[in-house]
Symmetry: C2
Subunit: 136 residues, 2 copies
């Protein structure tokens, strides 16, 4: 498989694949006579793992650890669970924060009744945190 095919097969941009190789997330594949990268099924599975983990919001370093575990089936699984649980907590925190933010924002947006910027409640509210109800 050439890089373009791998790209289409996994929905990953070519530059991103090369980037993952450069930072050591994917192993350097064999090369054809024309110096083109040549991938097999294992590469594809590994890239799918990386993409799926990225879609789920894991950082590159977390993925590095997860791949390392995946490469050593004799190790304890607890580490993978620890990484994923920690990440889940962070996602929950982020949702909570965004929800607070959403509430303030919709209160602010709801105040606009048209008119001139000088009388604008939206601009006024942005300059004055004291008008907020929650803590964001």
């Amino acid at each position: 498989m050439k890089i373009g095919e791998l790209s289409r097969a996994t929905g990953t941009k070519i530059e991103t694949i090369r980037y993952y190789e450069r930072i050591g997330l994917l192993p350097a594949p064999a090369r054809t006579a024309a110096n083109y990268r040549s991938y097999g099924g294992a590469h594809r599975a590994r890239l799918a793992f990386v993409r799926h983990s990225r879609e789920l919001g894991f950082t590159i370093e977390e993925i590095r650890s997860l791949l390392d575990l995946s490469d050593h089936p004799d190790r304890d699984c607890g580490e993978a669970d620890r990484i994923a649980s920690l990440h889940l907590e962070q996602v929950e925190g982020k949702i909570a924060q965004l929800t607070l933010l959403h509430d303030e924002l919709s209160r602010i947006v709801g105040r606009c009744r048209g008119g001139l910027a000088g009388d604008c409640r939206v601009i006024e509210a942005l300059g004055d945190h004291a008008q907020c109800r929650g803590t964001h």
Copy 2:
């Protein structure tokens, strides 16, 4: 007010204040004989506006437009409302996306029962998007 005082007064790091000046969000203040920046109430209010807007998730460019409106009280307020509404939509989108992600993650995390990485359901699920229920 010296930069350190403005920093403490607004909860903004000194480097960040200088950064905002460099990119043109804050006007360059007067300087003392020792070339120290010297701020007044207007600077402080403007920085508060910027910080509050950043806390609410507006980008620097959005804030630039909002400040521009705030500087021209004779303009129409609709633009401010448009920026804020658009941003609110983006926040809603982000929350929805994070919620999907949260659901998949918690399903994945719940599967771990200890043991070896080779049998790990967490690692398996990360490699196989087909195990997911929703679209993230």
